[in-house]
Symmetry: C2
Subunit: 142 residues, 2 copies
Amino acid sequence: MISLEQQKNPNPEDFPSELQGLRMTKQRREVLAVILAERDHPTANDVFSRAQDRMSTISLATVYNCLEALVSHKLVRQVNFERESSRYCPNLSDHCHFQDEESGKIHDVVFKEGVKLEDLLELPQGTEISHLEISLKGNFGK
Amino acid sequence: MISLEQQKNPNPEDFPSELQGLRMTKQRREVLAVILAERDHPTANDVFSRAQDRMSTISLATVYNCLEALVSHKLVRQVNFERESSRYCPNLSDHCHFQDEESGKIHDVVFKEGVKLEDLLELPQGTEISHLEISLKGNFGK
DNA sequence: GCCCAAATTTGGAATTATTCTAATTCGGGT
DNA sequence: ACCCGAATTAGAATAATTCCAAATTTGGGC
């Protein structure tokens, strides 16, 4: 079983037939492989065109379906910046995203050791957070 | 000069003819008044229909234009949750947003006293953040 | 007060990302 | 090999937002 988080050029064939309870069809495998292959944050369209290289018959609708399935089974993370189109991220560890305004490129940003959300925010007690997204924009100092 | 942050039912007429370098036209005044009137987080469409109550001739395109102008002049904040349509927030103080999954309602969440972003994230040094958005989803404990 | 250029507003068309639909194909289990 | 539900597909539909070009309004100078 490969590590879904580390390997650089995963081979779709290496994926088991089921991951996190999700059946790994040809297309889902391919979509997942595309996302794992690069550490960038491709849009659905990016994924579509990369997937087409090896599977010319795949459709955009399928890419959307696969992404939805992979995201809901927590094999991939969906990343949003304001109203831009969603991007997809293979990094499942706790982190957030920084977009360099010059290049448009997105970088993962990790939390400092031991930081908890409750330490940061005045949350009404009893609040349960099911989803958290932190998005930063800016630029690396001149 | 009224406080843009506190007053409950602002009257568009109370706004000066220019705010933050932005000319206050009739429509911009009205859009701003609509947003200040309630502490909820209306979408562009919500703003449009509320604005129509008092200014029946206003167009949706104008509402979008006005919102854009108000946001870029920092009179109003734009709030995003994943791919949902943008919402607009009159609260200009430093805060983030929590969406109750049951009601869909959005609540402002303030940062704890003295918390700085650098304390939370491993940002490459020299990074300048120009925009930060933190969005939470969840529910208030049962 | 009147005229002009510039800015704003307007309605409708266009765009874009995404979702839906209905038909086809696939793949695992018998 | 056959069946059935799930997955894939192409294309249409949708929804939010932006664009466009024309009409209107504005403020500043005379």
